[in-house]
């Protein structure tokens, strides 16, 4: 249930995610070393265009990547097809994007 378009979208989103995952893990390890508080973390992310772009892009790539991956599983293991499969793919992608985008907005510009 993957054509060239979906295959490319999944590979490109993986390409974007790879460095972002490493950056994310590095930041997590760094953040807990010195015992940063929530207020200190928010102090660095609030109003930061860099962290907005970093995690905004991350959320976008994850939404595309996971929606296509789950689409394949839903087709091969659950037997979803046609319109139901398309709806599932879009709902997963948009759902993940909404959750992620809310979180990014909350720690940067909200």
């Amino acid at each position: 249930m993957l054509d060239l378009r979906l295959y490319m979208a999944q590979r490109l989103s993986a390409l974007i995610m790879a460095p972002l995952v490493l950056g994310h893990i590095a930041v997590m390890i760094y953040a807990i070393q010195g015992g940063l508080s929530v207020a200190e973390i928010l102090g660095r992310t609030q109003g930061s265009a860099f962290w907005f772009a970093f995690y905004g892009l991350f959320v976008l790539a994850v939404s595309v990547h996971a929606a296509i991956g789950l689409r394949v599983i839903a087709h091969e293991w659950v037997g979803l097809r046609g319109m139901a499969l398309s709806l599932f793919t879009w709902a997963t992608g948009l759902g993940l994007f909404t959750l992620g985008a809310r979180a990014v907005w909350a720690v940067t510009f909200a």
Partner: protein, 244 residues
Amino acid sequence: MSKPEQTLDVTVWRGTAAGGELETHKVPAHDNQTVLDVVSWIQHHSDPTLTYRFACRVGMCGSCAMMVNGIPRWTCRTHVGKVVDEGKLTIEPLRNLPVIKDLAADMDAFFDKWVAAEGLHHPTQSRQDPIEPIDATTPARKQANAGIECINCAVCYAACDTVAGNPEYLGPAALQRAWTLLNDTRDGARATILDAVSGAGGCHNCHSMGSCTQYCPNELDPMSAIAGVKRETVRHALLRRKDA
């Protein structure tokens, strides 16, 4: 002095597309016998109504493939001693294909997909043209040569878990054929083949699990061929966009 006769417990699948069941036969064991010998013994001596398919008996025709203890194999080239499990053999029709009767699978879907993947020759010359010399040493020709020994036995197709989960998927044999033609300088339908393998059931569905390569009796490598087809579709799509 004769040895006491050893027997095998051979369970064969009996039935049609409407359904069926497993049936066990006692078959004399010999030092040298193939799984096809065992199936033939059952038909000759135990149940003449057993249906199965074979032709050459030497691993050339690709018609006797069946599931043997859960693994797709050419029955004519599979020694019983290699696969028997505590004196037991279970023989079933090829997986991922409908059954015609008993051990004979309906190969139509397999061959239809071969054609759907444009796995047929698209000539660039007519019989009036002189024979084109082919350089056997080019990298493309070596890739093409790697796949041409496929005899359409459908062992890879039966082994493929992606086909099992996604019946539209073209499968390893058809895609390997597409890769062979893409690398053959005598084939003139590159774009047609790439379009044919890029649809909803195309090469991009392959998860590279490798059962095709693992079980191919000819030791071909369809998994790598499919990876080649994927790379070529991406390259073609990017170049086409640039040309547009």
